[in-house]
Amino acid sequence: MRLIKRAWLGGIAAAVTLAFVSSALAADISGAGATFPYPVYSKWADAYKKETGIGLNYQSIGSGGGIKQIEARTVTFGASDAPLKPDDLAKNGLVQWPQIIGGVVPVANLKGIKPGELRIDGPALAKIYLGEITRWNDPVLARLNPQVKLPDMPILVVHRSDGSGTTFNFSNYLSAVSPEWNDKVGTGTALEWPVGVGAKGNEAVASMTIQTNGGIGYVEYAYVVQNHMTYMRMINKDGHTVAPTAESFQAAAANADWKNAPGYYLILGNQPGKASWPIAAASFILVHRQVGDAVAVHQALKFFDWSFRKGQKMAEALDYVPMPANVVKLIETTTWSQEIKDKAGNPVWK
């Protein structure tokens, strides 16, 4: 008797699991890539599933992995913190667009110094990360911070040890403002760092900096807010001092000339504008120009369209910056409806 009962229950469980798995397989949007936008993508996905019943299976394995997977067509979309160059897009038959904006923020830890009290500019930041400015009371830093009494202490440099979009945007900015950095180190997701210790992930960079008196690091803005870190204000391209806020990131994005950037190959670092944060960063989505599975891609585009329209509040709650409306319109009317096509040559997004 008991055996029969158990068999019954087992059968029901198996059937339920099967039904669940097959429905999940049928409906889920699949994507892989960048870790930086993962929190907001998963929050969007949660809300989207509640509304439409369609889930998102996003593996945050890193931008490099996302690019590889979309090239191999194992996922519907890839995500990358660094935009692909127009040549690479053409070579692999890919289209990309920016989906969300964030900011990279230099943080410090000096006893008695409050968030926003310190001010730095790009060339000085490059010199610190090159190992040329090694003490906090260096004349260059003193000149930038006349009202702060800087201690005679070594600067302990912290950087990312894992390859990351954060590092890409940070190093890209330093390359733009310091010819010497561009020459000796350059831009990349992983670098040959002249000085400092490497920590794995934003969390570890944040905690290393918080633990180390005299430490300096760079993290995504969300980590600054969550950990109440001592962020530094920066001097932007126009010579104005700005603090890292959603507004200053958005200012950088609004001033960016997306329209004239082929393939949206535009890096938000060092943008002009009075209020622009100098190290703003967009995160990108990649899909194939000629899609294999038009239904799946259409579903993915519907999700991204929904995120553009209804996901703004959620993004802001997580300290990300949604794309400006004019850029969304540009993406949907030109890229989506003109460049992404199914096998018969019909546009996927109508």
């Binding site: 490099g64 992995g65 302990l156 040890s161 350059g186 400092g196 490497g198 290393m208 633990q211």
Partner: protein, 318 residues
């Protein structure tokens, strides 16, 4: 009258035995196939890097993903140094614990200590890493490292070994964490082999008037050396390949520094850090080549251990 065994039962036994034989054989062969597969794919994956850099890959200190130039020397150096530190601290402590448990410990304390050591082995390495970064490293940074730097500042060679700003993380911290992680492996194996020493031998030695130290030195250790070395090798294998805990506390810098307080990197930490974002083919290949080198190092260590054991046995005339 003895009962006749029926032919059917016999055939059944033969079938079972045959089944057992082939199943166990398949299991054993699987190991070889998997190992072979790993070696082949490691070599295949690392070919582009080895072709591009040749032998210089092993000796070069440059690791520059931007210019696509890679050298493994800092990672190899870091792997060997951290394992060495782990062994220098871990072996004496582990053997000490094993001796205490088997020879000196009051019976009521035996169980708690043994259980504690087995629990240490059960802690996932990520926990060691997080604990190391948040708790252990700040402690070292504030107390032990400034003390070491200060204490050896005047000593000729040691001042270089313990130099530099106290980051709290680095080769030394990684070695310390590793020594804690290898402790349960070495301890539980040495304890087991110590317990297997025939009581007669020990009692005879005590009867002759040997001290506990003499019994351990002259009776227990010689009797169990194969097992002890086996335990040490198991610990060393763990130290060489440990990834997560090391990644958190080593500082992840591709540099060779004279000071063991400086940040460095190990082979497995580099792979764990960089594999996900390794975008160029040469980059990926260089990381796989690092894996191949770790494989070779582990092989050499194991072979050396076997060789050592063989020589010791020949010397002892067994």
């Amino acid at each position: 009258m003895p009962k006749q065994i029926s032919g059917r039962a016999l055939r059944g036994h033969a079938l079972m035995d045959g089944l057992l034989r082939s199943l166990t054989r398949i299991s054993a062969l699987t190991v070889l196939v998997v190992l072979g597969g790993v070696i082949v794919s490691l070599i295949d994956g690392s070919l582009p890097a080895l072709r591009a850099f040749g032998l210089g890959f092993v000796t070069s200190e440059t690791w520059n993903p931007v210019k696509d130039v890679y050298g493994a020397a800092p990672a190899i150096y870091g792997t060997l140094i951290t394992s060495l530190i782990a062994m220098v601290i871990g072996i004496p402590v582990s053997i000490g614990i094993a001796i205490f448990i088997t020879e000196l410990c009051p019976v009521w304390l035996k169980r708690p200590i043994s259980t504690a050591i087995e629990l240490l082995a059960g802690i996932p390495s990520i926990i060691y890493g997080i604990w190391g970064l948040f708790t252990f490293a700040p402690l070292l940074q504030r107390h032990l490292q400034p003390f070491l730097i200060h204490a050896f500042a005047r000593a000729p060679l040691l001042s270089h070994l313990f130099a530099g700003p106290p980051y709290g993380i680095g080769l030394f911290t990684a070695g310390l964490i590793l020594s804690i992680m290898v402790l349960p492996f070495i301890t539980s194996i040495t304890r087991d082999v110590f317990e297997a020493v025939p009581p007669m031998l020990k009692e005879a030695a005590y009867g002759l008037g040997c001290t506990t130290w003499e019994v351990v030195r002259k009776v227990v250790l010689p009797y169990t050396r194969a097992g002890v070395i086996g335990g040490i090798m198991l610990g060393l294998g763990r130290a060489l390949g440990e990834t997560m805990a090391v990644t958190f506390v080593i500082g992840n810098a591709h540099r060779i520094s004279a000071s063991i307080l400086a940040p460095g990197t190990t082979i497995s930490a580099s792979i764990a850090n960089e594999f996900t974002e390794a975008s160029s083919n040469l980059y990926t290949s260089a990381l796989i080549a690092l894996g191949l080198i770790l494989f070779v190092i582990t092989f050499i260590v194991l072979a050396a251990a076997r060789f050592l054991l063989l020589r010791m046995e020949r010397k002892a005339g067994v």
